[in-house]
Symmetry: C2
Subunit: 211 residues, 2 copies
DNA sequence: ATTCTTATTGATCAAGTGATCAACAATCTC
DNA sequence: GAGATTGTTGATCACTTGATCAATAAGAAT
């Protein structure tokens, strides 16, 4: 790849750091968090392993940072998609459709890797905690807007957010690992959300239904 | 441990194989599937790494077999617990309480490891598929009994079984990785099951309620 | 053009992994 | 008890991992 193209060019530290971070992200999305090794990243950037080690205090933190970057990007992406929605019901429907979409399997695998690798990588474990909190915070905000608008009813938005995220992660994990049939997952998820938020049956089904 | 106690005793192959399998299971339940190494198993059995390698075609299959054994034992255990139940509603309540219990976190971590490691270990991936099928088959059988008894109503037991298992795994994963609050998970799970099986509200709540 | 700063490298270490194989020795068989 | 069987070992290989450091050279400063 770029190993031969721009050989021996000297770059500003900030740029190299960015390159390394990007390479790590690509490797993770392709082959999982466990595939982020000094040599793999170095090879992808077109640089010596020593340079990667020079810019990163340790591989554990690079893995953690890469995980954090991927998940943070995911949140931003989903948030952007929810922007145009007029009602909270609309937004929730889009959220469910997006999060249970088949194109999220790469990110789901990242989550599975993180949950498993977190036990041996303290930095990663901490980052997993942060990102789970971030997701929950995001969803809580959405739910509270809906409650304020009088669209949703729930007496414990934080707990409900955790529950909904748990369900979504579980369905995604199953779909990614073994059964990719999202057709039955989305209706189920909508039904659960409707019930837990005191919505009329079918309220979430109409929105953003793909052909 | 037993490293010094019974030194240099020669055992029948079947017994050694059993010892190795047991050691692998204990290591997995304590430190995860990734901790199953030739040396770790050998050390626990009190034997040379070469002997472990001698009895196992490869570490990949030992990991896969260990995962399979743990999950199979889990299914048997749960099945045994459901035996005494008179009604399917009872059984489902016990099933939910058991599977979402806090003492299952070790097994949940095994599942997370398996899902993550499966990508690099074909034997493990195959075993994961088998055990997921086994769980689904078990739950489908339970659901069908309930339907036959007139307790449950569902037009697609297999699909519903996958969904319920996905939800349970997701809630368990979250609880294990970060939030161990099962108090909100079980009521939620009961509500979902009641709704999906056309049960009256609260039907699953009364059964097997711990003090 | 020369000097200086520093990004980059090559070589190398120590640790850990799975796996192999001739040699040993514990136990069984006769 | 002598011999055959085979469970078991010690040594060792090839490989991958993260990490270190003196030495090099690219680019900026003068």
């Amino acid at each position: 790849m770029s190993t031969l193209s721009a050989r021996n060019r000297r770059k500003a530290p900030a740029e190299r750091v960015t390159e390394i971070a990007l390479a790590a992200r690509q490797i993770a999305l392709t082959d999982g968090l466990a595939a982020i090794t000094v040599r793999a990243v170095a090879s992808r950037v077109g640089v010596t392993p020593a340079l990667v080690a020079h810019y990163q205090p340790s591989m554990n933190v690079l893995v953690a940072a890469t995980f954090g970057a991927i998940v943070a990007a995911e949140i931003d992406e989903v948030a952007a998609e929810l922007g145009p929605c007029q009602t909270s019901v609309d937004a929730l429907g889009v959220l469910i459709d997006t999060l249970l979409g088949p194109e999220r399997s790469a990110v789901t695998e990242i989550w599975l890797d993180a949950w498993s690798l977190g036990r041996r990588n303290p930095a990663l474990a901490a980052e997993v905690g942060r990102q789970m909190d971030a997701w929950q915070g995001f969803l809580v905000a959405q739910l509270r807007v809906g409650v304020a608008r009088g669209e949703f009813v729930t007496d414990d938005a934080p707990a409900l957010a955790w529950q909904l995220l748990g369900i979504i992660d579980g369905l995604n994990a199953h779909a990614t690992v073994r059964y990719g049939d999202a057709r039955t997952q989305r209706p189920l998820m909508r039904t659960i959300a409707e019930h837990e938020l005191a919505l009329p049956a079918g309220a979430l089904s109409g929105a953003a239904a793909a052909p």
